[in-house]
Amino acid sequence: MSEAMIEARNVVKAFDGFRALDGLTMTVPRGSIYGLVGPNGAGKSTLLRHVTGIYRQDSGSVLLEGNPIYENPAAKARIASIPDELYYFLSASTRDMMRFFKGFYPRFDGARYEALKDVFTTINEKQPIRRLSKGMQKQAAFWLALCCRPDVLVLDEPVDGLDPVMRRQVWGLLMGDVAEHGTTVLVSSHNLRELEDVCDHVGILSKGKVLIERSLNDLQENLVKMQVVFQEKEMPRMPEDLQVLHVSRVGRIHTLIVRGGATEVTNRLAAFGPILLEALPLTLEEIFIYELGGEDYAVRDIVL
C-alpha cells in the first residue's frame, strides 16, 4: 500500500481559459491532517472538488491510494466531504439526510449517528436543516459526515460559523477518528492560525500551484527564532555559513530568524558570548513568511 492517501499529479483545470489549477502536485500522507492554505482564488475549493470526484481535471491525475477518484464509486465511497457551501434538500431534516446518505455509503454507521446526538445536542434532528442557523447547519454536516465512517474526510473552510466550544468539540472528534481509525483529513482554510493547532502537514497554494508542502515538524525544525543581546550594542558579523534570513532590533535585543535546528544555532551564537540568548518557536505564520521570504505576494496575503 502506498503511504500517500491522496495524490494530485500535475493537475490542470481551466475555467474559460483561466487556469484555476495550473500543474498542481500534492501528496497527502495516510492518517495525516493536511492543511491546505492559500489566499482567495488560489484554487483550494477547486482542488477539493477534484479530490471529492466532482470535477474532472483537464489533465493530470487525482488518486486515492493510487486509484483515480473521478467516476470511481469505490473510491468515492471512502471519502466524505463538507463543502464550503452546504446543500440540503428543501425541508429535509438531519434525520432525512441521514437516511439519504445511508443509501449511498456502505459503511454508514447508524449507531454512531445515535451516539453523536449527545455531542450535537443543540440540533433537533427532525427539524428542517434549512431552518437551522448557519452554525447548526455546519454541525449537522459534521454529524452526517462522521457517520459515513470515511477513510478520507475533505473539509472546505470547515469551522466557519461554529462557536469556539463547538470548534473544539468538532476538532476533538476529528482527531479522535484520525487516532482510532487512521482517517486522513484534508482541510482547507485561508487562515494559517486556524490550522496550526490541528494540522501535522501543510501545503500552501497560490495561483493554482502548491508552492510548498511539508510536515509541521520539518518546518519547525528547520527554522529558529533567536532573541540575542550581544555585549556590544551593534550585532557582530555572523559567520558566512550561518543562514540568517531576517534580523530586527528593539533596543539592544536582536531578533534573528536563522535556518537550522535550535540546538545547533544556539551553540553557534553562544560563541559570541551574548548577555542573553534564547531560542523561540516560530508560529506557522512566521515559518511561511520566512520560508517564502516574500517570493510571492500571495503568501503575505495568507498571514495578514
Partner: protein, 643 residues
Amino acid sequence: MRSGTSYFNKTLFAKHFARFWPIWGLYGLIWTMCLPLGILLDSRSGWTQVRARVLPLNYLDTTGWFSAATLLAVVFGLLAAMAVFSYLYSARSVSLFHALPLRREGLFLTSYLAGLGFLILPNLAVFLLALAAEAACGAVVFSSLFTWLVVSSLLGLFFYSFAVFCAMFTGHILALPAFYVVLNGLAAGLAVLFGQMAHEFLFGFDGAAWLTAVASWLSPVLRLSACHVVIPTVMDAAGNGWADYASAYFTGLGYVALYALVGVALAALALAVYRRRQLETAGDVVSVSWVRPVFKYGVAFCAAVALGETLYSLFSALLPRGAWGLLLMLLLWGAAGYFVAEMLLRKKFWVFRGSWKGCVVLLCCLTAAMCLMEFDVTGFERRVPDPARVQSVSLDAGSTAPYDDANGQGLLLDGPEDIAAVTELHRAIVARKAAIEGAEPDYTYEQLDSGLEVETSGQAWVQLRYTLTNGSVVTRSYRIPLTQEALDDPDTPAARLDALLNAPGQAEKAYFGAMAEGDYLISAVVTQPHYDEEGAYYYDEKPVDSAGLEELWSAVQADLADGSLGRRYLLENQARLENCYVNDLILTFRRAGQAARADGSDTYSVTVTLQTTGARTLAALEQYGFDLDSLLTQAQAQLKERQ
C-alpha cells in the same frame, strides 16, 4: 477498487419520488378525474360499449389543437425533467450529488427513470382504476383503455426525454423551459419565416415542400397534432351514412411510437452529453462548450429573421421597400440578438469590447445571404425548365371571370405544345422581372362613354408546378400585373396566360374534369337573378324541359370544345361584361351506377355561366322553350342597375 455496477440507486430514486410528489400527484389526479371519475360520472346517464370505446380515445384526439394526452405530456414531461435534474443548476447541489459514490451513468439513469416514473406509474394506476370503473359500470373496452395507456405513456416518454435532452445543455433552470419550448417549434417557425422572406425577395419562390416537411417532423408538437381519432362512416342498405362510434380508433400510433423511439435516442444522447458535462457550468445558460457559439449565432440569426422580418412588415410604410430595407432590419436585430446572447452567456451586460468581431462576421454573413438572394447568384430566379425534360405542368391562375365552376380550376398540361406554351409564359415572366416587381399592386376601373364601368388594371397570381421527367418537382409563383394593353400584346405574360387559359379544350376540362365516365345529366336550370326593393340579391331557377337535356348537353360540349363557351377573363373588361350573362346554366348529373337517393348524395352539379358566343347552347335552350330575351349580359345588368 473500481466499481462498474452502480448504475442505479434506489435511495435516490425514492428520494426523487418523495421530493417531487406534487408533480406526479397532480398528473395522476388530472388523469384520475378524466378517466376513472369521468367513467363513473358518465355512467349515470348509461354506460355502453360505445361510450367505453370513445371516452378514453377522446383524450387522444387532436381534432382541436392538442389532444389532452399531448398537452399533459408536454407540460408534465418538462416539469418532471426540471425536477429530477434540478440538481445540475446550482453549484451546491452539484457538489452534493456528484460527491456521492455513484457514477454519472448511475445518477443519470436513476434520475431519468424516476422522472419517467412520474408519468408512467400514474398512467398505469389510472389505467387499472379506469378498468375497474368500467367493470363496475358494466361495459369494458380493454383495447380503448389500453390504447390510451400506450399512447399517453409513449407521448410522455418522448416529451420527457426531449426535456431531459434540453436539460443537459443548460446550467440554468429557467433556460430549460425556454430551450424546450423554442426547440419544439423552432424548425416550423424558421421554415415559416424563411418562406415569408423568400416569397418577398426571391422572385418566383413558391415555398419548399421538403423544408416544410422536415420542419414539421422537427416540430414534434405540430407533427403529433396530425394524429387523431377516426370514427368510420358506415353506409346502410338505404345508402345513408352514419358515424360508427363503436369502431372508433386512433390513427397516430405509428407516429407516436416513432417519436417514442426518438425519445429513447434523445435520452441516450443526453446521457452522452451528461458524461462529458463540466459541472462548473452550473448557473450558465449554456453548459456545453461547443454549443455556446451555436447558441450565440443561433439566437442572433433567429432574432434577425424573426424580429427583422416582423418589424420590417410592421414598419413597411416607413421603410424603403425591397431587399435593402429588409437587410437593414435584419442587421439591426441580428446585432441586437448577438449581443443579448453574449450577455446571457457571459452573465454581464458590458460585452461589446470582447465580442464585436463575431458580430461583424454575423452581419457580413447576413449581408452575403441577402446579396445571394437579391442578385440571384444561384440562378433560382432565372431557371426555366427545359420543355423536353418536363413530364407535366400544372398551372393555377387563381380567380378568373366568370365566377362559375371553372373559376379557380387549375390546368394540368402534359402535351408538348402546352408545356412549351407554359415555359414560354415562364420565360416571358422572368424576362420582365424588373417591370413585374416594380409594378404596384393596382386595381383600377374606368367608366366608358356608354356608362359602363370596366376594370383597366389588376393582377393575377400564377402558380406553376413542373413535374420533370426525373421525378423532381419545380414550383414557382408570380404576381402578374394585368392591363388591357398587356392583354392586347401577345408577347406579354398577361396575354400568354390568357391564351393558355382559353386554349381549346381547357374550358371543358375546367368544368367537367372531375366527371366520371357514365355519369349522366338528369336536370338543368337557368338562373334568373333579381334584386329586391331593398337591394338584396336572389335568383330564380327556370328548369329546362327534360326532353331537351340530351340536346342541351351536346350543345354545351360542342360550345366548350371550340371555345364558344367557357371563355375565361383575367380582367372585368368590356369584353367580359358584354360576353358573359349574369345567368348561369346549372347542370345536375347522377353518378354512374348509383340509384336515386333522397339526400341527393348520388348527384352533383356544375355551374356554367352563359355567354353570348355560346350559340349552340343558347339555341338549344330556346328550342326547348327558354326565352332568350330574359337573359341579361353583365354589361346590361350593370347599366340597368345604375338606372
